[in-house]
């Protein structure tokens, strides 16, 4: 924790106030399914798992959403896709992969049946539309995490 008594101030009603920063350096074990997904991301590949109904889940589902069984069948999925919805973030926050205004989007990667939540470096809200094609921008120094995709970039190619 940081902040605290040395940086206090006193409000109009006499209350002592002080900044407090809570931070936790979490390290999470990922299990076999996410391990394979993140290892593939580190190699600039995207993989998903196939469910009992044939749907391909990206990010991969560990357990079938319909039957609850362990999923074991893997499918290669493209790192290109289509925007299915988006919103504009005019003021990026700490932790975002981009630190200038960008779009959040749900992206349907080619070959996947579920959508991936990620950032799109569209430049402005006028430049992005649902249906546009995007391609992953890979991190120069991957760490085996979702941010090995830094963001998605718009590509030419008409909206689908």
């Amino acid at each position: 924790m940081s902040g605290g008594t040395s940086e206090y101030s006193i409000a109009a009603d006499g209350s002592f106030t002080a900044p407090l920063e809570l931070s936790y350096p979490y390290k999470r074990t990922v299990g076999p399914i996410l391990s394979r997904f993140l290892t593939s991301l580190r190699d600039q590949r995207v993989e998903g798992t196939k469910g009992s109904d044939g749907r391909v889940h990206v990010p991969p589902a560990e357990f079938d959403p319909v039957t609850g069984e362990h999923l074991t069948e893997w499918v290669d999925v493209a790192s290109t896709g289509t925007i299915v919805t988006w919103s504009w973030q005019p003021a990026p926050v700490e932790g975002n992969t981009l630190q200038h205004p960008f779009a959040w989007a749900l992206i349907s990667l080619d070959g996947a049946d579920t959508n991936l939540l990620h950032a799109v470096d569209a430049g402005s809200a006028d430049a992005i539309k649902t249906g546009m094609r995007v391609t992953a921008r890979w991190a120069a120094e991957p760490s085996g995490s979702i941010s090995d995709i830094v963001c998605f970039d718009l590509t030419s190619g008409s909206p689908t």
Binding site: L20, S87, Q89, V93, L117, T130, I146
Partner: protein
């Protein structure tokens, strides 16, 4: 099933910020709801609390709420890391077990302690979503866009929701935001998270709500016209935003079905929909008709005290039963991104 009714409620005035601690905020509301019911703390069989430690910024901060209750002699109490409305559901269940006949339920929180929009990111998948730090408003905005582009809602309909709630809030002294806005002004306002405008988004507030529920004849002895809980149900959807409907709320529809919403007309519905497009989705999912008055209090749009906004909806709905302005009302609480969880309660007067 035992009959259970809401017999009293109390709310703090919602404020944008306060220097009071969460416990200090609680004390007058606890005392008020007991006074409203002409009860003392020894009349209460169970105390159930809803709050969120991440909002307070202190681990186990919820424990200190017990200081507001005067827990000597020892009391039976419980806590949910959720809105007080879910604590009410737990208390309702405990009454069903026959262990208690009365319960005081409360929800509280200082949204202003930190950046609530950022804190809500912590409720997302911690492996592949949370680490990107998408904030709550951006996520709601994505749902709004999908609804607009599919035609499920329109910009005008969202503006009408904002207009109606802000006008209703003019008569609610507890609301934080209120006003008489024209549709044109609302639709021309600046976008804060395209496609959302400021008044499409909730007025985050520091607040407290407390409600007392009682069983059977005990309730009849405590209130002239108790608000009887005739149906209550809680359903939850997948946490995976990439594998959920963006334009419907199946969990709300199912909870409404299980709670028996459609059995008769609903006079008043208080909906815990923090964003305007969500009120539209919810109205549709719950099967509410135009005959239902929605959010006469101004709803969560005009005052969203995290962890008590849902319970406040129950309190507002129950108040209208108890004061005779409604015979059948709906109280609703939600939680999670895109209204992932929905708790629906049908209230009736005798």
């Amino acid at each position: 099933m035992r009959e259970v009714a809401i017999i009293a409620s109390a709310q703090a005035d919602n404020t944008a910020t306060t220097t009071s601690t969460p416990v200090e905020m609680l004390i007058p509301v606890i005392q008020q709801v007991l006074a409203n019911a002409s009860m003392t703390k020894t009349d209460i069989g169970f105390w159930c609390h809803g709050s969120c430690d991440y909002m307070t910024g202190q681990p186990f901060s919820f424990v200190s709420a017990v200081d507001a209750l005067g827990a000597w002699p020892p009391i039976i109490e419980s806590h949910v890391e959720a809105d007080g409305a879910f604590a009410l559901y737990e208390a309702w269940l405990k009454i069903q077990t026959g262990e208690i006949d009365t319960a005081l339920v409360f929800g509280n929180g200082r949204s202003s302690s930190g950046d609530i929009n950022r804190i809500l990111t912590l409720q997302l998948d911690p492996y592949v979503v949370g680490p990107l730090w998408p904030d709550d408003r951006s996520i709601a905005a994505m749902q709004a866009r999908a609804c607009l582009e599919s035609g499920v809602v329109t910009e005008r309909a969202m503006a009408e929701v904002a207009q109606r709630n802000h006008r209703n809030a003019l008569t609610n002294p507890k609301a934080l935001r209120r006003g008489d806005h024209s549709i044109e002004a609302l639709m021309a306002a600046q976008l804060v998270a395209d496609p959302l405008r400021e008044l499409d988004c909730p007025a985050h507030a520091d607040g407290v709500t407390a409600v007392i529920i009682a069983a059977g004849d005990r309730a009849r002895g405590l209130a002239a016209r108790p608000a009887w809980i005739r149906g209550i149900d809680h359903r939850i959807e997948s946490q995976n935003l990439g594998n959920r409907s963006m334009t419907t709320l199946p969990s709300a529809a199912l909870a409404a079905h299980k709670a028996g919403v459609a059995n008769d007309k609903i006079d008043v519905a208080e909906l815990h929909a923090p964003y305007t497009h969500q009120e539209l989705l919810l109205t549709s999912a719950l099967g509410l008709s135009e005959a239902t008055t929605i959010n006469p209090s101004g709803g969560a749009l005009c005052a969203n005290p995290m962890m008590s906004a849902g319970l406040a909806r129950f309190a507002e709905a129950a108040t209208r039963i108890m004061n005779g302005t409604a015979d059948r009302a709906l109280g609703h609480a939600s939680s999670g991104p895109w209204m992932q969880q929905n708790l629906v309660c049908v209230l009736e007067g005798e």
